[in-house]
């Protein structure tokens, strides 16, 4: 049985929670004030994910870079791997919001999309 302390990020309350994990399964969460806290703790202890935002190089645009985001949060441990891919990508202007920059980033099945025009 593993016990983890974590701070809930679901709302500004920032509840200090304790999760007990058995064989990769969260068996109990304490310290949360609402169900959102429990859900967050469960995800965070089994497969934590993070939204990823950065920029990629753009050719022929108004600016040298264009901002992008992951269409859904990516696995936390893959963040730097995703950055490596995005650091080596160059796209051509014109770019619109929502344009798919990478279809499946690092085998996560998640798209990287542009978040501004250029």
């Amino acid at each position: 049985m593993e016990v983890r302390e974590l701070t809930c990020v679901a709302c500004p309350m920032g509840c200090q929670m304790t999760a007990s994990i058995d064989n990769g399964v969260v068996v109990s969460v304490t310290g949360n004030t609402c169900p959102r806290g429990k859900k967050y703790a469960e995800t965070e202890c089994t497969h934590p994910v993070r939204p990823l935002t950065t920029t990629v190089k753009v050719n022929g645009g108004k600016h040298p870079v264009v901002p992008v985001k992951s269409a859904a949060p990516v696995p936390k441990e893959k963040m730097f791997e995703c950055m490596d891919v995005l650091n080596n990508i160059t796209v051509d202007a014109p770019i619109k919001i929502g344009d798919v920059i990478v279809d499946d980033i690092c085998g996560t099945g998640i798209q990287i999309v542009a978040t501004n025009i250029d």
Binding site: T7, P12, M13, H63, P67, K69, F80, I97, T115, N116
Partner: protein, 419 residues
């Protein structure tokens, strides 16, 4: 001379929302003057997500949030002038603005909405002693270099100030390959959102040093290091706690200041605490026909609230233009006491409106399980329990119109925290 019903100074989220609302309320000729090259304001460089949860019910990045409004503006006949700086406003609401294409413009307007936003407090304002090398910059400056211009401001970074911009930049610099050595916070708590502390610092093992400040900057050409010190309960550095931290960049996130140069020049009264104009519930200033909203009025934590507030200002301006809102001197005052640092609006016009009044406020310290109370002549007219109140977060309460009936001119409405 150009003629408009409404000139909006600033094309960020505040200016855009005010202009759109005024248009919706039937104002015909509207002009937005934006000093940068596109509409969107500072959102254009805030490429992280977290915007729009309240307003759109989804998490957008800054440019995406801005784009929603830019697209709406494009579908109206609102005139937009970018790369345009408003230099002056005259007492009869004429606006002097310049840009490369139109040259110097004199624009006559019935009403004006001020939506210039805010700026970051620089090093000088907090007087950090030491040398004056390259590599000392505000978090927003570093953000612009990284997200718009594609340049990395530093490789080994110490951040002073744990407001959200500082936290966001800690993550941003780390993802781009810089080493963020620590974030120092003068106060015993962070002014940033819990989520940002977890996802921008803890995720990357960046230490958050509470009750610490930078007491010396070192380096002749580029920053070579900083001295940090622990501070006591009066926020004064404690001798003997100095620690030298080598770095090539000191990034400052030590507060935002509403940019009210224009407001000041036209004689608008400013609130000592917010640094923004003193306004009534329609966001009209003491200068007839001039309204203010967004971060130029008071610094907001969420852009969603900027949008809401600016719609109030846009509607107020529209009603003024159409003659439905008379400039009124008959008003009562709001005042934050006992833990409440400020309240906006600072004045409430007593008129025949049947609309509730939403009061926005911030507390001066962290409270848990406290009660927010509004009193009038010693009588409590509103009370609500709050599990947590923090200085970093803007709170609001709604005052019903019937509770405003029995006031007389000059009365005070006190907002306070108990517990």
């Amino acid at each position: 001379m150009l003629k408009y019903d409404l000139v909006v100074v600033g094309g960020g989220p505040a200016g855009m929302a005010a202009a759109l609302k005024a248009k919706e309320c039937g104002v015909e000729k509207i002009l937005i003057c934006e000093r940068d090259e596109t509409l969107g304001g500072i959102l254009e460089q805030c490429i992280h997500t977290g915007f729009g949860l309240h307003y759109f019910g989804e998490e957008l990045s800054g440019p995406e949030y801005a784009a929603r409004f830019i697209e709406q503006i494009e579908q109206t006949d609102i005139d937009v002038k970018v790369n345009t700086m408003v230099l002056d406003i005259t007492t009869n609401n004429d606006v002097i603005a310049i840009n490369k294409d139109d040259g110097l413009m004199e624009i006559s307007s019935t009403a004006i909405v001020l939506a210039m936003g805010c700026r970051e407090r620089p090093r000088g304002a907090i007087s950090i002693p030491g040398t004056r090398p390259a590599g000392v910059m505000t978090a927003g400056t570093a953000q612009r270099y990284a997200n718009i211009q594609g340049y990395l401001a530093g490789k080994e970074v110490v951040i002073l100030g744990s407001g959200d911009i500082g936290l966001i930049m800690a993550r941003r610099m780390t993802l781009e390959g810089a080493k963020v050595k620590m974030v120092c916070e003068l106060m015993p708590y962070s002014g940033g959102l819990t989520r940002n502390i977890v996802q921008c610092l803890e995720d990357f093992d960046i230490p958050l040093k509470l009750s610490h400040t930078v007491t010396q900057i070192h380096g002749d050409d580029r920053v070579e290091g900083v001295t940090i010190s622990k501070v006591d309960s009066n926020l004064k550095p404690i001798p003997g706690t100095e620690e030298y931290v080598p770095c090539d960049t000191l990034m400052l996130s030590v507060g935002l200041l509403p940019e009210n140069e224009l407001s000041r020049s036209v004689g608008i009264y400013l609130d000592r605490i917010t640094g923004g104009a003193i306004v009534d519930q329609y966001r009209e200033t003491n200068h007839e026909g001039v309204f203010a909203c967004g971060n130029v009025l008071h610094v907001h934590d969420l852009v969603d609230f900027v949008t809401q507030e600016s719609q109030i200002a846009g509607e107020g301006a529209a009603n003024y233009i159409k003659g439905k809102k008379a400039f009124s001197d008959y008003r009562i005052h709001t005042k934050g006491v006992n833990g409440v640092r400020y309240v906006v609006p600072q004045r409430i016009c007593i008129d025949d409106s049947d609309q509730p009044v939403k009061l926005y406020f911030r507390v001066g310290q962290v409270f848990t399980n406290a009660t927010v109370k509004v009193t009038r002549n010693g009588n409590v007219i509103y009370a609500k329990k709050k599990r947590k109140l923090a200085p970093g977060e803007m709170e609001n309460i709604i005052i019903k119109p019937e509770d405003l009936q029995e006031f007389s001119e000059g009365d005070y409405l006190y907002i306070e925290v108990e517990g």
